[in-house]
Amino acid sequence: MLEIRNLHARIADEDAEILKGLSLSVKAGEVHAIMGPNGSGKSTLARVIAGDEAYEVTDGSIEFGGNDLLEKEADERAQDGVFLAFQYPVEIPGVSNTYFLKEALNSIRRARGEEELSASDFLKLAREKAKLVELDEALMKRSVNVGFSGGEKKRNEIFQMAVLDPKLAVLDETDSGLDIDALRIVANGVNKLRDQNRAIIVVTHYQRLLNYIVPDQVHVLVDGRIVKSGDKSLAEHLEEVGYAWVDGELKSAQTAGV
Amino acid sequence: MTTTMSPIDQYSDLFTRLAEQRTSDPKWLSGFRQAGLATFQKLGFPTQDLEEWRFTSVRPVAETAFSPAEPRHSVQASDIEPFLHAELTGPRLVFVNGRFDDGLSNVTDLPSGMTLGNLRTVISSDERFVSERLGKLTNNESAHFTALNNALFEDGLVLFVPSGTKVDQPIQVLFVTASEADPILTNPRNIFVFGAGSEAHIVETHVSLSENVYLTNAVTEVWMGERARADHYRIQRESESAFHFSTLRLYEESNSHFRSHNVDFGGAIVRNDSWGKLDGDNCEATINGLYVLRGRQHIDNHMWMEHVKENIPSHELYKGVLDDHSSAVFAGRIYVHPEAQKTDAKQTNQTLLLSDDARLNSMPQLEIYADDVKCTHGATVGQIDPVALFYLMSRAIDKETARNVLIHAFAADITERIRIDAVRKNIERTLRDRLLT
């Protein structure tokens, strides 16, 4: 479903590369975890997949469902089924959560040539999905993310994911700033959305989240490249030995000329 | 004393008389004064038809025949003692009726390269320093009172702090008006130049030894070099029959920060114009004001802050306490140029009306041409919060005391920002005395 080859990227108008030749292949139905220390390029990868213009791709390619993803604008990617759960969800004063999501969903449906949902059908769908992530219905009426607690914001992201029903979901540090109860609620929500037609990429610094969302594959991202891949035991190993361990791996990778 | 002559004739006449005493002035200075007179002749005194003067009538000023003070006076050190901050042991400069008084002043032990003296002396000792700066920040054709000052100024303070020099002790400047039978006018003219990375504090006080009618018309030009820091305190305690006009012109280069605090207690009609041109990235400006009025006092604070470059914070906080029939005007304008991205400007005017006959006009304005900016302004007007008053009284505090406590608390927003203890205490004391009478 997702095929990333030799991806190089930097912040637009800055010289330093953040992603330095990253390759990754994700199939439908799989859950991949991307782990790495701060500054390794995890969030950059998430943003580049979603099409944030603040980042510039200098080399490499991303294919999604057989099409060139990089050619498309962020909204077209979303319409194609790419979803990013933001590390820091953005506040939009005055725009109600419900209205926002209805517009988003109908925009995606139009792009797919589907009928728009009526207000009442949408509300029915939204209520149903809200239960999935245990989102208080009162939050649906409030302005998008305005005055939400950290946990509510993250839950709201997963709620949006549930409603928009993407093919590929990238969860960018969805666990950051969550206490254990909130983490479990969010993870449960994600697990309910696991599906053989959907791929999920979980970007995280800690292994903690992976206790709840068990990945099929784990990749370690260091200095803009994936230096190690494996199954979920790799995450557990990392938790034990820390990221210092991968520095060594990195050095050996460099000497090996990878 | 009123006059039948038109103000323009009157001041033209005065100019001619003074010119006879100024034959030793260098040519450029005569030209400068002449240009000032010409502008004033064109403008005259402002009328209320002008937007900038809508709420302030200067008719009483225009209709009074002022004359320059006689050079002789009999002011003793003991006369001015109550107005000096004794705790401040640094340099002290005293001007009496607009002229520097060597005997009452004390300027010693200056860091090397620093200039601190009176304008007349510096004109002769370092003519170029003055000619390169005088009037360079005031070229505004519509500034009536600045034009008059240009034509008539007698003396004033010149300060130059060389690059990298930090002056620890605050510099004290006292402008004293001594009693005379006829209304006199003085036109203090000050120049402050801060070199790169320099730092100094100035405490400027205007006082009167009588309750007579007179006119003070001061103009101050300030240059802030890169990374310079300056704190300026202007405490105005003129006679309540006097007219006080002051203009501050500020120019800032990158990373500098000028902080000015203006406290006004005196004057029958007071007008303070503060203009800042923030012309360097990351510089910062703070202009605060506190005014406490009674009787029929009137104050008009005009503030214009021009953000030219990027990433500049500016803060303006003006607080007023108005009693009896007093009235106040606040007009602030934050002007953000298209290039001045990341501006962070905040302008606030808060007024406490103690009497039902007091009047306030507030115009906090924004003019913004850049999109990535944070500009806010706010204005509030009201009386002492009856709930707070009741709360204090319910704790056995009498009404008068409770009221004073709340007024002090209101003013504390400004007084607490005054970093020199002696100055802050002095202002708090004056405020307390004022509330008791």
């Binding site: 933001f86 988003a104 | 039902d356 007091a358 007007v381």
Partner: protein, 483 residues
């Protein structure tokens, strides 16, 4: 927000003005120029009584002594008032139709195109009564009969002058005297038509009353005059919409609206102003110089809501004179300037009575090279004990060639007053747009959504049918402003 189809349609033609077509209709138009003869001509055309003609002439003579104001923050070349035609009427309309059957079918078609159905059976029964003003004359007023039963008068001002002279004489010029200001005085001399509403004591008007104004003829000024009188304890909600064809020349619109809310009455006045704004280079467009003012007697309330997206120049300050004790004034405004548009708009709240309250919520949006100024006066007079005002002025800038300005004037003369003013400036964040994009919304839709959120408090004040229209307009008028 606009649907995608609409957005695409708009995008394909650039930043388009939807109502820019003109109607080819035979009109009777006065020659350009203004003198006493023209004033008499207009008055004569309308079969006005002598007192009305005299009032107009007094206004005209006074106007000759006045100067055009220069204080607004707007720039435009001098207007040659002798080149404007002060009267234009569709020929067939004659003295105004007696029923819809008499209205020129082409006119009805025009209003259909505008989405203003004039045929009564097409209007959901009892929702909106419409008075439509085409150039200088009122062409149709619907639902007259039904309103008549309640004693409500809703007709053109010309008709009111003839049929209800006692009411017009009493109230015309009572809020905006003919000497008031340059444009209001001009209007007093040459006003052509407009709406008149009288709601009797204790009557709640059961439907929204609406006037749709359209300037059609070239080189024609439109000078409508609206007078609404709500008698004691009555209520009325009034909507006003405006469009004009695209023309290269600037057209002058100088209207006057007077509201009188007697004891305990409430008037809600909503405007969606979408006059032609001119093209991107500032060519053409309407000069909109409008005087709107209402007076509140005891316990009365006047609420102004405006969404101003059109016009090359907007100069407009809907105001409230809070004369009676406990009266209430409200002003909710959204003003958008894009392209080369300039707006200087705001309100005056004059507190005279005791315990009077006013609220001002102003949202200014600047894009393109637009200049948007809020100018507002809050005056609390000596008698106005315990009066309150709250003002909030928010500006949003889109791009760095536009300007957003705030000029509040606060004048307080008694110490029991409480006046609060707050203002903020924001931009649309790139992060907000990306967030919307990521959820599948296009840039245009994202801007429209964020702007509508920004204006929410004001849009919420509009009657339902108008709110939808206004939201669409906001989206359309900001198209092409980002990116």
């Amino acid at each position: 927000m606009p649907t995608t189809a609409e957005t695409i349609e708009q995008l394909s033609t650039g930043r388009d003005y939807k109502y820019g077509w003109s109607t080819d209709i035979e009109a009777e138009t006065a020659p350009p120029g203004l003198d006493e003869g023209i004033v008499r001509f207009i008055s004569g055309k309308k079969n006005e009584p002598e007192w009305m003609t005299e009032w107009r002439l007094k206004a005209y003579r006074h106007w000759l002594t006045m100067q055009e104001p220069v204080w607004p923050k707007v720039d435009y070349p001098p207007i040659d008032y002798q080149k404007v035609s002060y009267y234009s009427a569709p020929k067939k309309a004659g003295e105004g139709p007696r029923s819809l059957d008499e209205v020129d079918p082409k006119l009805l078609e025009t209003y259909e195109k505008l989405g203003i159905p004039l045929s009564e059976q097409k209007i959901l029964a009892g929702v909106v009564a419409v008075d439509a003003v085409f150039d200088s004359v009122s062409v149709a007023t619907t639902f007259k009969g039904k309103l008549n039963e309640l004693g409500i008068i809703f007709c053109s001002i010309s008709e009111a002058i003839r049929e209800h002279p006692e009411l017009v004489k009493k109230y015309l010029g009572s809020v905006v005297p003919y000497t008031d200001n340059y444009f209001a005085t001009l209007n007093s001399a040459v006003f052509s038509d407009g709406s008149f509403v009288y709601v009797p004591k204790g009557v709640r008007c059961p439907m929204e009353l609406s006037t749709y104004f359209r300037i059609n003829a070239e080189n024609t000024g439109q000078f409508e005059r609206t007078l609404i009188v709500a008698d004691e304890g009555s209520y009325v909600s009034y909507l006003e919409g405006c469009t004009a064809p695209m023309r290269d020349e600037n057209q002058l619109h100088a209207a006057v609206v007077e509201l009188v809310a007697l004891k305990g009455a409430e008037i809600k006045y909503s405007t969606v102003q979408n006059w032609y704004p001119g093209d991107e280079n500032g060519k053409g467009g309407i000069y909109n110089f409008v005087t709107k003012r209402g007076i509140c007697e005891e316990d009365a309330k006047i609420s102004w809501t405006q969404v101003e997206t059109g016009s090359a120049i907007t100069w407009k300050y809907p105001s409230c004179i809070l004369k009676g004790d406990n009266s209430i004034g409200e002003f909710y405004s959204v003003a958008v300037t894009n392209g080369a548009q300039q707006a200087d708009t705001g309100t005056k709240m004059v507190h005279i009575g005791k315990n009077t309250t006013s609220t001002i919520i102003s949202k200014g949006i600047s894009a393109g090279r637009g200049q948007n100024s809020y100018r507002g006066l809050v005056q609390v007079n000596k008698r106005a004990k315990n009066s309150r005002n709250y003002t909030q002025c928010d500006s949003m800038l889109i791009g760095n060639k536009c300007g957003a300005h705030t000029f509040p004037y606060i004048d307080v003369r008694n110490n029991s007053a409480q006046v609060e003013h707050e203002a903020t400036t924001t931009k649309i964040g790139e992060d907000q747009i990306f967030y919307c994009n990521q959820r599948g919304l296009s840039e245009e839709d994202a801007v429209s959504l964020i702007v509508n959120g920004f204006c929410k408090e004001v849009l919420a004040e509009l009657p339902m049918e108008f709110a939808v229209e206004a939201q669409k307009l906001l989206g359309i008028s900001l198209e092409g402003s980002v990116g």
